[in-house]
Amino acid sequence: MSEAWDLPEGECARAHGMLAQFVDDELAAGQATWLRGHLEACAECRVLLAGFVEIDSELTGWGQQLGLQNPPAAGAREQLAARMASIPIRRRAVRWMPAVAAAIAAALVLAAIAPPRKAPAVNRAGNQIDAPFVEIPYLPPLDPRENSMIVRMNIRVATLIAVGYRVTADPEEIVPAPMCWWVKTDARMRCACFPASSGMEQETSL
């Protein structure tokens, strides 16, 4: 018999590879038909299959016998369900302290890695610009006729002075100012600022 187990060649090798699934009746119909045909023609493979089935039956019989003679403890399912129920579900808790600590840490890190402040810029008129004007990326309007909008913004007085407005307020003061933004035909964005305290208006371009 051992010769039949060893050195499979050609069709026999193919047959040997199918035995496990054949025993489980899980071969595709075509493969099963082919294997039956081969077994009819090949005595060695028939011997092999018989040996395979015999040992396989002993194995499965052994396991079944063990299971039958050692039945599971009664109430195992209920015990399992109770143990599952005893595992607490993690509730979502508000954790202010970690959040605050994380925010402080982030602020410290940002402060440490922030680039040094640049020297103050100077505008065309030679005035120092303490705070940069508003940086707005250029976005082409959807419709050339709808290319303006008025936005109320908080502007530092120093900034207004820097771009040429004559404002008498404290330069450090921040004042609300309606600003009109529009795009002219040269596609550059411009804005006009109307500080409430000055009553003036002046156009500037970005």
Partner: protein
């Protein structure tokens, strides 16, 4: 606050779903898993404990939305690893290695002894187990899985190899067993 309440509600629902799913797997796999563990030499009590632990871990795995692929193989591997770790542990030694179990069976002569003894007293079964012990590791692993009642396709899933590899392993193992038992 409302978000927290909703999240807790969702977690409760997920836990319920995981419990139902784990119990469904328990109903399906408990018996083959016990047989497998006993075939590897575990006592019935150890097998029961390993089964409980395995399905508890499955419940937690499902609750955490763990990987759902090949859960059958996952459960068998968890049980096998649990038993192995328990055997390694010096605190408990209720699990009995296969050779020790076989030796013990030889000493027990009372037919009214444990049910396991009745099985192991069978000469042919003892020879089969002895022959399995002599197999190379990867062939030996297939045998208790088959004895547990799994199909070869399922054994392939448990071992994480393809069906043709299982077929080759089993064929070689069967050849050796056949020679040993002849």
């Amino acid at each position: 606050m409302a978000d927290g309440a909703m999240a807790n509600l969702a977690k409760s629902a997920a836990a319920d779903q995981a419990r139902d799913e784990a119990l469904r797997w328990f109903d399906e796999l408990r018996d083959p898993l016990r047989r497998y563990l006993m075939c590897t030499g575990a006592s019935p009590a150890d097998a029961d404990e390993a089964v409980q632990e395995s399905f508890l871990r499955l419940y937690q795995h499902l609750k955490k939305s763990g990987d759902l692929l090949n859960l059958r193989g996952w459960v068998f591997q968890v049980a096998r690893n649990y038993l192995r770790d328990e055997r390694k542990s010096a605190r408990r030694q209720r699990s009995v290695p296969l050779d020790e179990a076989m030796e013990r069976d030889g000493r027990l002569a009372d037919p009214r002894g444990s049910p396991e003894h009745c099985v192991l007293g069978d000469e042919r079964t003892r020879r089969l187990r002895a022959a399995i012990e002599k197999l190379p590791a990867e062939q030996r692993e297939c045998m208790p899985l088959r004895a547990s009642g799994l199909r070869y396709r399922e054994i392939a899933a448990v071992l994480g190899i393809n069906i043709s590899s299982v077929g080759a392993l089993v064929r070689r193992a069967m050849a050796r067993l056949s020679e040993e038992l002849a």
